[in-house]
Homo-oligomer: 257 residues x 2
Amino acid sequence: MLKSALMSHDPTRQSIRVAAPTFSPLYRQIKDFMIRSLEAGEWGPGDAIPSEGELAARFNVSQGTVRKAIDEMASENMLVRRQGKGTFVASHDDPRSYYRFLRLVPDDGNVEHAVSAPLSCAIEEAGGEVAAVLGIKIGDPVIHVERLLRFNGEPVVLDQIYLIAELFPELTLERLNNEERSLYSLFENDFGVRMIRAEERLRAVAADRYISGLLAVTEGAPLLLVERTAYSYGDKPVEWRRGFYCTNRHHYRNDLG
Amino acid sequence: MLKSALMSHDPTRQSIRVAAPTFSPLYRQIKDFMIRSLEAGEWGPGDAIPSEGELAARFNVSQGTVRKAIDEMASENMLVRRQGKGTFVASHDDPRSYYRFLRLVPDDGNVEHAVSAPLSCAIEEAGGEVAAVLGIKIGDPVIHVERLLRFNGEPVVLDQIYLIAELFPELTLERLNNEERSLYSLFENDFGVRMIRAEERLRAVAADRYISGLLAVTEGAPLLLVERTAYSYGDKPVEWRRGFYCTNRHHYRNDLG
DNA sequence: AAGTGGTCTAGACCACCGT
DNA sequence: CGGTGGTCTAGACCACTTG
């Protein structure tokens, strides 16, 4: 019966397409349905979702159709397949996606754990730029976090982060002070906000006095400025940040696939 | 019969796996076979490859299996599918993949055509760094190209490019002087070398006297340094380049999917 | 209308993981 | 061993492009 709810391949579908002029195959409707389940928190990060067979029965479609829906979601990093075990909701706790958003790596391949040191955390009124990017009104409350990222003890990144305040109630400096989990792990676990994708804009800038002090470089030293907008389910912008990267012994890695 | 050549799903396959311990599904063997066809130039850039049905018959497998092979190749930008028309070998001539490797965009969304002005082109002996990256010996001949990229008439990028010389015979400054085609289009058309993917390392540096002159910035101004290794079929490194990007009115765009 | 890629099915079997 | 994802098939039909 869910099949009819999903407007399956029966003749009815023709008339449906009048209402929805853009053709949407069954597997995409199933995908959208599953995304809504994720949005609603029906399946939480790290959980196993029902098996392909069960979902196929539930939606009254063939396994192959469910499979194609899951394939797309896995390729978009919403789900993680594990052969023989099941399909799981992606989580920033998982080491596999831990550093998915941090592209800075040391010049020598040595993996070093980045340690985050929060500097400040306060509620502010959104300025024009932040409001525009986050899709809120100027003056709406945002949480402004500043933090330092250290590799091997050396300060390398200064992040200035802006979050939609209502999504992160009672986020305080103390709660940010957790060296075990990444920031996005914390968001996901404590506030149920999962970052799905992000857009970054990079440029080179000169360090001003304040930043040069924090990163232990000379004033005017070239820094990599990374501006990021991060989106949650439904392509909703949730975070905007500006990161100043010291690239003396590290670089930003990018694969053009 | 090609099916047997591809070690299909018949019982024989079990014994094959002894020789090749890593399990390789049929569609992947077909994919590898097709990649070899591309490597050999059997199908050239822009050409249509045989239809899925014909390939299925040729390989003696089902259409779905061929489809999955093509799917992977399309997702790796080797092939381009066009519904109702066919599947084509990707080409840098195609506007869709024209700017696939240039991530620099103007801050205001206006699309401007980048114009390339070659400055020099000479054969040199590979230094240590270049030789290591390109997988050749120190002293082996490489072609060193320097060129300026202008947006809207303003110089924005200085590229220092190193190519394995034997792959680009008789590449001269005059031949580079072509404002219609991108560099990779020229490589693909004139030398049969197609770039499939690339890795980039980004960092911020200060402009030295030489570069500041070319890019019309002050000495010491922060520039985005982009080092790229580009690979052809079979993950063979073919080009290494160092690009100095002026990011006053442009930025490097990256999607973290 | 013919040809191509795109979707969907029903069922079989294989590879992998846990118990 | 049973359960899960992964592969493969044979065939039907849909959507898109071109002549």
